[in-house]
């Protein structure tokens, strides 16, 4: 049994392999498509239109710049979700490789996370100017906070990716379930609605109280908060379905958000890494 340090050292030595696999992911995806990267912006654009129509006009929240409100966190959600969707099959789908060559197996799910991270960063290059236009120059002051948030989110995502990728070996229908899991997870995360609205009604309705509790223990709630408060603004006042945000408050004033995100990231990564390595012992026999 190798120790955590030895494993991490091995992973470090395999960094070149990780880079190659990541490059492969990106290349294979865009090999036969002229529009390439632009395709990956199509989905957030469409989702923004859909949710802006629904919550801007059909069931209106009184939230200014609903599109900006949504986009400030949707890209990071997409990064998280697509990383898991991509990596869940990374062990089972590479059975041939696993049965024939040794290399640190975690490279497979991690390369999907890194490939998605690159999409995410490229996407931000397009989104941030839009957010600056709608929410003002002040939010640029929060970019260092966002950078820290991206690092923490990547660590968290890597942990979840390793859990799903390795658990999919003994439980093959996890692949089927993951769509449902993420659909529920999406709505259990304050992406299309403000978390403050749930918090405001918490004391009045029991169901909402339970839901509020779900939001609290959901790690993604905290990451959403980090990104939304950096990119969109902090809640200034709330009245029914009308929420007013102040933009441009330096997010650094909220150390507890960073603390909770960091704790979730590190714990999830360590748990995921351990589980992955435990199950990896029999990958070559089971895939």
């Amino acid at each position: 049994m190798r120790t955590l340090q030895e494993r991490l050292a091995e992973l470090w030595r395999a960094r070149e392999l990780l880079a190659q696999f990541t490059r492969k992911e990106l290349k294979v995806r865009y090999k036969n498509s002229a529009l390439g990267f632009l395709w990956s912006l199509l989905s957030p654009a469409l989702m923004t239109v859909v949710f802006t129509v629904i919550f801007g006009f059909v069931f209106p929240f009184e939230i200014e710049d609903y599109a900006a409100f949504f986009l400030s966190v949707y890209l990071m959600w997409q990064f998280f979700q697509n990383s898991i969707f991509g990596s869940i099959n990374s062990i089972v789908g590479n059975g041939d490789l696993i049965r024939k060559v040794w290399f640190p197996r975690e490279v497979l799910p991690l390369s999907h996370v890194l490939a998605q991270l690159i999409h995410f960063l490229l996407g931000l290059l397009v989104i941030v100017p839009y957010l600056v236009v709608t929410r003002g120059w002040d939010l640029l002051a929060n970019l260092p906070a966002v950078a820290v948030g991206i690092v923490l989110l990547t660590i968290f995502t890597a942990g979840v990716a390793m859990i799903f990728a390795s658990a999919n070996v003994p439980f093959r229908d996890l692949q089927e379930l993951v769509n449902v899991i993420f659909l529920v997870w999406f709505y259990a995360t304050p992406i299309v609605y403000p978390a403050a609205m749930v918090a405001a009604k918490r004391d009045d309705i029991t169901a909402v109280e339970t839901f509020g509790w779900v939001l609290d223990v959901n790690p993604m709630t905290w990451f959403v908060r980090l990104f939304r408060e950096s990119f969109y603004g902090t809640v200034a006042s709330i009245d029914g379905s009308s929420v007013r945000f102040d933009s441009g408050d330096p997010i650094w004033s909220l150390p507890e958000v960073f603390g909770v995100c960091a704790a979730f990231a590190i714990v999830t990564f360590l748990v995921g890494y351990r589980l992955f390595n435990r199950l990896a012992l029999t990958f070559a026999k089971e895939v």
């Binding site: 070149e16 492969k24 041939d96 024939k100 229908d173």
Partner: protein, 437 residues
């Protein structure tokens, strides 16, 4: 250069670079495999499987610079052993120690991605084998030349022919420059020219003083390339020694089972106890592989206890040429247990019987079991073979020692010649030599 010299000082040139100790590798053969969460939940604990040991208690050590051929019939565990050495499989029991950089050619071109070009795949495959990008770039031209893919470098590899695929895989793998190279059957792919070239490359590798472990069925190449053979059978090491002897043994095991000679020198491996030597003797105590019908025989079995044993039973099974058991006798059934034995203690047991058999080929398998004779503790990889000469004025399998007499009417003595001598009818078709005698 200086660095390499320093490194060779640090790493001792001799001493084992591969140590395998008591390695057992178990696989599960699922009868009806629950493959999902759903099935798992409602058939919890009901999945059934058979465990089978692909490797059983394998112990061996390989010194620096040795070239070892691992041979054995299909399914004997050769590839599994190589996979454990390559770290692809984790040892289930026992342990494996490896000193030095390992490269494995278990499958050439594993990890090629069809949609990527040859150039991209060279870098990807290099990284899978643990090479840095700089190292691949340095040797890039060499790889391209060896594989002969100059004109196809920027074409997706899915358009490559299978021969080209393998050539490219080999070209990348050999630049790894490991201390220990594991090779599985890759000599047998590709055309003749490629085979010669890859063989030469491995020869060169050996001359550089690297350690080589090869799994191959190509016995001629293996004799040329290796000094030592490890013969596996049903997951156990049945021979470990000079290449010529190992290959000879394997040939006898696989090619012509009837021609197997004495195996007295081949120690068997068992866990509690091992049979170190078994010799077949005739009634006079001479080593015998040919006897007359109904001659007394003795199998002398020398065994050594690996652990403390209260008692065990030692016996032998007599089989016909098809491996059908004809007779089995054990000390235990005769009311004698062998023991108690302390670890390392040796005993010699003689099992005597009269071979009431007629002309043909037979075998005796020595065996050590629990006192009740139910659980086998040790055996030889192959039974000892012997031949019964024609005679006894009869034909068949069992010498019932019949006689005839003409009780009424005339009788005339015949001179025994080949036309009237008994011909073992049943074996005529498959053993013309025996019939002629």
């Amino acid at each position: 250069m200086v660095l390499d010299q320093l490194r060779s000082l640090i790493r001792p040139k001799d001493g084992p670079v591969v140590v395998v100790d008591g390695l057992t590798e178990t696989f599960r053969l699922y009868h009806e495999r629950p493959t999902g969460l759903k099935e798992r939940l409602y058939r919890f604990r009901r999945s059934s499987w058979t465990e089978f040991d692909a490797l059983r208690d394998v112990t061996l050590s390989v010194d620096h610079g040795e070239s070892v051929a691992i041979i054995g019939p299909n399914g004997s565990g050769k590839s599994t052993l190589l996979k454990v050495l390559a770290r692809i499989l984790e040892p289930d029991r026992g342990h494996v120690e490896i000193h030095g950089r390992v490269a494995s050619l278990l499958e050439l071109g594993a990890g090629f991605h069809g949609d990527l070009t040859g150039r991209e795949n060279i870098y990807l495959n290099g990284a899978i084998l643990g090479l840095s990008k700089a190292r691949v770039r340095e040797r890039f031209q060499e790889i391209v030349e060896f594989a002969g893919i100059d004109h196809l470098l920027d074409t997706p590899v899915r358009t490559y022919s299978s021969g080209l695929y393998v050539r490219l895989g080999f070209a990348i793998a050999v630049i790894v420059e490991p201390d220990i190279l594991l090779v599985d059957e890759v000599l047998s792919v590709g055309d003749a020219a490629f085979q010669r070239r890859s063989l030469r490359r491995m020869q060169q590798f050996k001359e550089e003083g690297k350690t080589l472990l090869i799994v191959s069925h190509d016995l001629d190449s293996v004799v040329e390339l290796c000094d030592r053979a490890v013969v596996l059978d049903a997951g156990r090491v049945v021979f470990d020694g000079p290449i010529k002897e190992g290959v000879d043994l394997y040939r006898r095991m696989s090619v012509d089972p009837r021609d197997r000679a004495r195996l007295a020198a081949v120690p068997s491996i068992g866990s509690r106890v091992r049979i170190e030597e078994a010799t077949l003797l005739d009634g006079m105590g001479r080593v015998a592989d040919e006897i007359d019908p109904s001659a007394p025989m003795r199998i002398r079995i020398r065994l050594v206890a690996n652990e403390y044993l209260e008692a065990c039973s030692v016996g032998a099974t007599v089989q016909d040429a098809d491996g059908v058991d004809l007779y089995e006798v054990h000390t235990g059934w005769q009311g004698v247990g062998v023991g108690p034995l302390v670890p390392g203690q040796a005993v010699v047991v003689d099992v005597r019987f009269v071979a009431h058999l007629l002309a043909g080929h037979y075998a005796v398998a020595p065996v050590v079991t629990d006192p009740g004779g139910r659980q086998q503790w040790a055996s030889l990889p192959m039974p000892l073979e012997f031949r019964v000469r024609p005679g006894g004025g009869a034909t068949g399998l069992v010498d019932l020692q019949g006689s005839t007499s003409v009780t009424e009417g005339p009788a005339v003595p015949l001179r025994g010649d080949s036309t009237t001598g008994p011909i073992p009818i049943i074996r005529l078709a498959e053993d013309p030599d025996a019939a002629r005698e």
